[in-house]
């Protein structure tokens, strides 16, 4: 290609980039792009984001067109995909992994007419970048309650991924609520140091089961622990997506990330011209976190108890982190009746009182 041709075509592309979104908006048609970190078939994190994308199509019909790219590594490849999507005329782009944070913000500066939505991040350097997350810990409170009631050995196994606030608040929420219904309950926590490694997750599940855990929880993304638990006749809970079909007899329920309502709302806002920068942390109240149908093996009274807890969280009459609560070392964390604020919650870096072991640094 001669340099002159290259310049001409680049100019054309730039022109198209500048004018296409405006044209689409003026015609009431919106194009929404989605970038996933894993394969759509991971049946966990990325799968759920794609479910959200499909709901946008269902909700908004012909007025919206969606595109997605799966298995996009965090880093340089993300920038390439973002460029492609913006040049193809996407009006709003959802980047659905923490590691896309810098690429998203850098690109937002270059494409001021395109809206960017970054999942689980905190940087909003440009006016056209919004962030969003979900209150997964609310679901952990519910499964903690069920686990506390269902365990016979009073030992619950927990497969954790990385020692970050999101995982720690999950462990704490589950433990607090298991303890509330069963004061004798103990948690055994194994750190897998991975989000996705089926073999290691299976090994971790096996180790916990062999040491007397009769309920397994996971904060890793593969379906391996649920599969192993089903094989051994041990109760489990699915993560991110409804994993019930991997444990028809033993998977008690799953915490489902439900991104659809948020995605529809935001795409609609672009359509109406009302989109504005925001930082959203949806929970059960907004429908962002959903508990999958509870398995029939759970007794009716336990199910009712879990559902009552869900209802109280959903109508915001109860917060899973309500005092009195102490930290692991016995110092006071929340006074009686006090409710945690979002800032403290988002930076949580400790176990609550009663959990044994150290958090890896």
């Amino acid at each position: 290609m001669k340099r002159r041709d290259f310049l001409a075509s680049s100019a054309g592309v730039a022109l198209a980039a500048a004018t296409l979104p405006a044209w689409a908006e003026s015609h009431g048609m919106v194009k929404a792009g989605f970038i996933y970190v894993g394969p759509v078939g991971d049946l966990g994190w990325s799968f759920q984001h794609d479910q959200g994308r499909q709901q946008v199509e269902a909700d908004l019909g012909d007025a919206v067109e969606t595109v997605f790219v799966e298995s996009v590594p965090e880093g340089a490849d993300a920038e390439r995909v973002l460029t492609q999507m913006a040049l193809d005329g996407s009006n709003i782009i959802f980047t659905t992994s923490f590691g896309y944070m810098d690429a998203t913000n850098a690109f937002a500066a270059k494409f001021p007419d395109v809206k960017f939505e970054h999942a689980t991040g905190y940087k909003r350097d440009q006016a056209n970048v919004a962030t969003y997350n979900a209150r997964f810990y609310e679901g952990r409170a519910v499964i903690g309650t069920i686990a506390g009631r269902m365990t016979k050995t009073n030992t619950v196994g927990y497969i954790a991924s990385f020692p970050i606030p999101e995982v720690l608040m999950g462990i704490n929420a589950a433990y607090i609520h298991a303890k509330k219904v069963n004061p004798a309950v103990q948690f055994k926590i194994v750190w897998a140091f991975t989000w996705f490694d089926p073999e290691k997750e299976a090994d971790a599940a096996n180790a916990l089961i062999e040491q007397g855990c009769d309920v397994i929880m996971q904060h890793t993304d593969s379906t391996a622990p649920v599969t192993i638990a089903e094989e051994k006749g041990i109760f489990s809970f699915g993560q991110a997506s409804d994993m019930g079909k991997f444990g028809p007899n033993t998977c008690l329920t799953s915490i489902v990330d439900n991104w659809g309502p948020y995605y529809s709302r935001r795409v609609k806002a672009v359509m109406d011209g009302t989109w504005a920068q925001s930082d959203t942390w949806d929970g059960m109240a907004e429908g962002g976190v959903v508990i999958a149908p509870i398995n029939a093996v759970v007794p009716a009274d336990v199910k009712a108890e879990a559902e009552a807890l869900m209802a109280s969280i959903a109508d915001k009459s109860y917060h899973p982190f309500t005092g009195p609560l102490n930290k692991q070392d016995g110092s006071e964390f929340l006074a009686a009746g006090a409710v945690i604020d979002d800032g403290t919650l988002a930076g949580m870096g400790f176990y609550v009182e009663g959990i044994e072991g150290d958090i890896p640094s």
């Binding site: 394969p39 078939g41 991971d42 049946l43 196994g157 055994k188 926590i189 194994v190 750190w191 140091f193 996705f196 490694d197 089926p198 073999e199 290691k200 997750e201 299976a202 090994d203 971790a204 096996n206 180790a207 916990l208 062999e210 040491q211 007397g212 855990c213 593969s222 379906t223 391996a224 599969t227 192993i228 094989e231 079909k245 991997f246 044994e356 072991g357 150290d358 890896p360 640094s361």
Partner: protein, 310 residues
């Protein structure tokens, strides 16, 4: 800390199961390297075997047909490597790496409609009488067929290399392909056969993951096992018995560290996580160092292309 929560019997039984995929793949690679070929595509062949075995088991309803299909698929994809390196004389290191990338991509494509499908598990075979021996029976004789196959293969590979004429010829090819060629042995044909065997064994190892360890198909599920198998062959200085030690040690420490974590042992998790790699390397290096070092055991023609020019 509650060490009594760890049951040694269950731990040892779990060790054997955790080690089998690596053991199978490493035995295959051992034969390949003893014939003088370095195939770095073990990971790619394993994952191809994992997906092929899973698909075949689901479609046929038999886990054993699944294992057969996995071995065939592993051998088939290894022939791509064989063709490129033995006839077209491409660089073995680069070709092996390419094979890994190709295998990962191909398996993701083939497995697309099988994600989330539940498979049947290979049944456990309790060997009569022996499985009733207290403790030992539970550790050794209550596994699925592939565990016994892998142990038989250790002995078979040892016998083949150390005692059989065919094995000596294979070793001669690996030590000095010019001399073997001058004696009239078909160097390329022998190496192709070794590569196919390596592919089949890696395929079996992969299928053990998708049919026994975690009975399901997930993209990228081998998660680096093939690289561990490769490393174990080198650190075991190309000896089947040491491959067995290395594989069981690695699998054992991997399972043990998770058990120690669950028992609440006060060793920092970071050290526990790296322990399988450290301990396996350390032990195998110490074993090898006792007799003049590992380097002297490497097949002399390892990784070199052979072209019969006369």
């Amino acid at each position: 800390m509650d060490l009594s929560a760890i049951s040694p019997t269950l731990l040892l039984a779990a060790l054997i199961v955790a080690s089998t995929p690596i053991l199978l793949a490493a035995l295959g690679e051992l034969i390949v390297e003893r014939s003088g070929v370095l195939n770095l595509g073990v990971e790619g062949m394993m994952i191809t075997g994992a997906v092929a075995g899973f698909i075949a088991a689901i479609e046929s309803g038999s886990p054993y047909l699944g294992f057969l299909a996995a071995a065939l698929a592993g051998a088939a994809i290894s022939m791509l490597f064989g063709l490129l390196t033995q006839y077209l004389l491409s660089n073995q290191v680069a070709t092996g790496l390419a094979l890994t990338l190709f295998g990962l991509g191909l398996s993701a494509l083939l497995g697309q409609s099988y994600t989330g499908v539940k498979s049947m598990t290979a049944p456990k075979i309790e060997i009569p009488l022996l499985s009733d021996i207290p403790i030992l029976g539970q550790i050794l004789f209550r596994h699925d067929a592939m565990v016994y196959v892998s142990l038989i293969m250790v002995v078979a590979v040892w016998y083949f290399l150390a005692r059989s004429r065919a094995g000596m010829i294979l070793r001669a090819v690996g030590e000095n392909h010019e001399a073997a060629h001058a004696l009239g042995y078909p160097v390329v044909a022998i190496r192709l056969a070794a590569i196919a065997f390596g592919g089949a064994m890696a395929g079996l190892g992969g299928a053990y993951l998708s049919l026994v360890r975690i009975p399901q198909w997930t993209e990228g599920m081998t998660a680096g096992s093939g690289w561990i198998a490769l490393a174990i062959v080198v650190f075991a200085s190309w000896k089947p018995s040491r491959v067995l030690i290395g594989a069981y040690l690695f699998g054992g420490v991997k399972v043990l560290q998770l058990n120690l974590q669950a028992a609440g042992v006060s060793i920092p998790v970071e050290y526990l996580s790296m322990s399988p790699y450290l301990i396996t390397i350390l032990v195998l290096v110490v074993i090898s160092a006792r007799r003049g070092g590992a380097q002297s055991d490497a097949p002399a023609s390892l990784g070199q292309s052979f072209h019969a020019s006369h």
